[in-house]
């Protein structure tokens, strides 16, 4: 067996490390084993981070109900259960995100500090999504104007909202041609 660290010399030192309640075998050569002692940086693994988050209770803040794996639905598309996910750290298909959304949201907030994507949108969906994002923003503005009793501005915003809503319901994307086709 070759050393896992340098891949150069035969592994002569075999260690068991316990990380996030998971046992891990490490096989190193003598030189690498010595140098492991002088760690400069914490080893980082996304999988172990995730396993740690899922394994411990603190993923879910006290005011939120921690979802019980057995009470979660099973993805109708790929058969993945929430328990499968907590074991592997991986979802099975695109539909899993809808199936487990409720249970995933606290986890996403923990990892990313957010549950809403604000970045790039596939071009075929682009316009609709941008319109809806704009709509959400306008609705927040409207709320603020109403709270401050600034009804004139509120009326302007309300008109804009109406316009965007009309676009969303009746608007077609036909003029949004793909550049390549």
């Amino acid at each position: 067996m070759q050393c896992e660290r340098c891949g150069e010399r035969p592994a002569t030192v075999h260690m068991t490390r316990i990380m996030n309640n998971k046992k891990e075998q490490i096989h190193l050569c003598a030189q690498c084993a010595r140098e492991q002692g002088e760690l400069n940086f914490e080893p980082f693994s996304v999988q172990s981070l995730l396993a740690g988050l899922l394994g411990s209770g603190f993923v879910y803040p006290a005011f939120e109900q921690k979802p019980k794996p057995e009470s979660q639905p099973i993805c109708q598309n790929c058969g993945t259960s929430f328990a499968d996910f907590t074991h592997t750290g991986r979802l099975g298909c695109a539909q899993c995100y809808e199936t487990f959304r409720e249970a995933l949201n606290p986890l996403l907030r923990r990892i990313h500090g957010s549950v809403y994507h604000t970045g790039k949108v596939p071009r075929c969906l682009g316009r609709q999504v941008h319109t809806r994002r704009g709509l959400a923003e306008l609705q927040e503005q409207l709320q603020r104007f109403i709270e401050r009793e600034e009804y004139e501005q509120a009326a302007v915003i309300r008109d804009k909202i109406r316009e965007l809503k009309r676009e969303l319901s009746g608007g077609d994307d036909s003029e949004h041609q793909k550049d390549f086709a």
Binding site: F41, S45, L91, G92, I111, H112, H117, C124
Partner: protein, 361 residues
């Protein structure tokens, strides 16, 4: 171009001079994308994975007609199954594929452009990992180009996307933008002056991840680190890239200050250290990859500080790859045992470094 030629080739991007390239070796942007109509790779059947590979082969033909993408030379799809184990190891050493693509799963593939700037891993943890790799600090350009390839592929493939979660990925740590931006940096002066840990641990607090490149994440062998973003959801891609760029510029500034301090206070010791490293690399007959990486770091610093002339700085980046075990064996065209590798490594270093002049002052 055969995969072996790609392996042995020194890509153009590695040979030029780019912004901040004395400290930032390379910038990489990777986008995770999945198909809407297929289970994620770990649940795909062999037949589904095979069908998807074929769909990608068609998509690649199409993408090659794109004006922007074709500037990087035609992209070619390789099946990982057709690549020997040694060549896979060398591809990992060149940072063109992940260890996961090299070892796991079925019907995996690699698409790579002629100039090696653009590549796509197929059926790794996600169906697609689109990558763009540039020299120096060029994250924004790398993001723009990766995004263009994403656009071109999107004309042929329907990606899994939800308005709320964004691009959907097998692991929720990548969901949203699916974007992982990273830079490789050479920070010898920060390590020598014992500031590296303090500065790098501060990066963790702003959502960045630091790891060593050589020595499997636990140690920054050769003083080369990789800094990348951890958060992929909730921020716009440009924001992620700009934040990382700003952090990298700060590390660059700190490294430059540390280099100036070393040159002011410890000039003779620096000249000695660099001269010794240069002497060993150019005159050894048996050398391990760890020793080589460590000394190459000193030589690169020697080039940056003007102690060594007549060698381009990029020789360091190239030798970091060329002295790795997999690369040496692909170059030799055969498997080599540890001693044979150490001998060939010494020969390679001699031939590459003898042409330079060491001018300790």
């Amino acid at each position: 171009m055969s995969i072996k030629r790609i392996l042995l080739d020194i890509p153009r991007w590695m040979q030029g001079e780019a912004e901040e390239s004395d400290i930032v070796l390379s910038s990489r942007v990777r986008l995770a994308r999945n198909m809407v109509d297929l289970p994620f790779p770990h649940l795909m059947t062999a037949a589904q994975a095979e069908t998807f590979l074929q769909r990608m082969a068609e998509a690649v033909q199409y993408v090659n007609q794109d004006d922007l993408i074709s500037q990087h030379g035609p992209m070619v799809l390789y099946r990982v199954a057709d690549i020997t184990n040694l060549e896979r190891q060398a591809l990992v050493e060149k940072h063109l594929i992940s260890p996961q693509l090299a070892t796991g799963g079925q019907n995996r593939g690699l698409v790579i452009s002629e100039d090696e700037v653009l590549s796509v891993m197929i059926n790794e943890e996600d169906h697609l990992r689109i990558q763009c790799l540039f020299a120096g600090l060029q994250l924004e350009a790398a993001w723009q180009l990766a995004s263009s390839l994403d656009d071109a592929l999107e004309n042929r493939l329907e990606f899994a996307f939800q308005e709320q979660e964004g691009y959907l990925t097998a692991c929720p740590t990548n969901v949203g933008t699916g974007l992982r931006a990273s830079v490789m940096m050479h920070i010898p002066a920060l390590v020598m002056t014992k500031q590296a840990e303090r500065i790098l641990s501060a990066l963790g607090k702003v959502g960045l991840v630091v790891r060593g490149i050589y020595g499997e994440g636990t140690q920054a062998l050769g003083n080369v680190i990789q800094v990348s973003n951890q958060v992929t959801l909730g921020q716009v891609e440009g924001e992620i890239v700009a934040n990382l760029t700003a952090a990298v510029k700060q590390i660059v500034a700190q490294e430059q200050l540390a280099r100036e301090a070393l040159m002011t206070n410890n000039r003779i010791q620096m000249a000695d250290r660099i001269g010794r490293a240069f002497g060993i690399l150019g005159n050894s007959h048996v050398i391990s990859s760890e020793e080589a990486v460590r000394l190459l770091s000193d030589v690169r610093l020697g080039i940056d500080l003007g102690f060594i002339t007549g060698l381009p700085a990029s020789v360091f980046d190239q030798l970091l790859v060329q002295t790795r075990p997999g690369y040496l064996q692909v170059l030799a065209g055969q498997e080599l045992d540890a001693l044979e590798r150490d001998v060939r490594r010494a020969q390679l270093l001699q031939s590459k470094l003898r042409s330079g002049d060491n001018m300790p002052s």
